[in-house]
């Protein structure tokens, strides 16, 4: 398996959906190619750091949630009366 062929399977590899027939080849490539191993490791770190950081960072305060929910319900009532 070449690096380009590996890369084409990387999303499936992360998702655990690589065909069983190809999985051994994918794993073998990762064992012998330190370059692709680095790409896999750093891509996984990229996903993880966004997942951990952004979920907490983009959290709405309760006061904002309350305000938006109240506004939405008012608009919904208004739109129904038309």
């Amino acid at each position: 398996m070449t690096c380009t062929e590996f890369l084409a399977k990387m999303t499936d590899y992360f998702d655990g959906t690589v065909d069983a027939s190809l999985l051994e080849e994918v794993k073998a490539h990762l064992c012998e190619c330190s370059h692709c191993e680095v790409v896999v490791n750093t891509t996984q770190q990229t996903i993880q750091v966004y997942r951990d950081h952004q979920i907490y960072e983009y959290e709405m305060p309760e006061s904002l949630r309350d305000r938006l929910r109240t506004a939405i319900m008012e608009k919904c009532r208004g739109s129904r009366c038309k």
């Binding site: 959906t17 750093t42 770190q45 750091v49 938006l68």
Partner: protein
């Protein structure tokens, strides 16, 4: 990495009953749906637009639109996926307006070369959280994701941050499953590439 797909569920989703009640005019049921999904919709809108005020407006517009179109929701998809689709469309529309009617769509800027192999030889050591403090890392992550085209940002946000399955992401974005996979690969690699500019690497093995 552990598998991040969600298991297929055959049983009726609890949202179906809430949607039915909301359709019949039960306000508390619709309010419950807002409580369940407002945070996720806010995060998605915030990610795509990269703007807090826009995200607040999009949360309101998304739920209002959902309420007005509730009769059209047939339950073929999950209510949440349906909601996300509305939110993504609203977000892209906002970006379009902000950029003065320049076209912003799922296809913008994503026709890049597929499958080009990145040239890196060293791991990030220590990891990003160890290299930077919370505030600084937040700035880097924001700067990095802002550089991605909206089409890539949407796929990455839904699949990797909000953890929708590939199928749900495809449905929410109106794309095919292979298109989602291909864009996800390119989004992940582009983000990795941009982030690597800020990362120290292990000397050992570096060439």
């Amino acid at each position: 990495m552990t598998a991040i797909q969600s298991p297929a569920t055959e049983e009726i989703h609890p949202d179906v009953a809430l949607v039915e009640r909301a359709k019949a005019g039960d306000e508390a049921a619709f309010e419950q749906l807002i409580r369940q999904y407002d945070r996720q919709i806010f995060r998605i809108a915030r990610h795509i637009t990269q703007n807090k005020e826009d995200a607040e407006d999009i949360v309101q517009d998304t739920f209002l639109k959902a309420y007005q179109k509730l009769e059209q929701f047939q339950g073929n998809s999950k209510f949440y996926t349906w909601l996300v689709r509305i939110a993504v469309n609203e977000s892209l529309m906002r970006l379009r307006k902000r950029r003065n009617s320049k076209t912003v769509s799922m296809d913008e800027d994503v026709q890049t070369e597929d499958g080009s192999v990145p040239r890196d030889f060293a791991d990030w050591t220590p990891n990003p959280e160890q290299q930077y403090g919370q505030g600084e890392l937040g700035d880097i992550l924001r700067k990095t994701i802002q550089g991605l085209p909206p089409g890539f940002r949407s796929v990455f946000t839904l699949r990797d941050v909000e953890n929708l399955s590939t199928e749900e992401t495809a449905e929410a974005l109106g794309l095919s499953v292979p298109a989602v996979k291909s864009r996800l690969l390119r989004a992940r690699l582009q983000l990795r590439e941009r982030l690597s500019r800020y990362m120290k690497v292990k000397d050992e093995g570096a060439k």
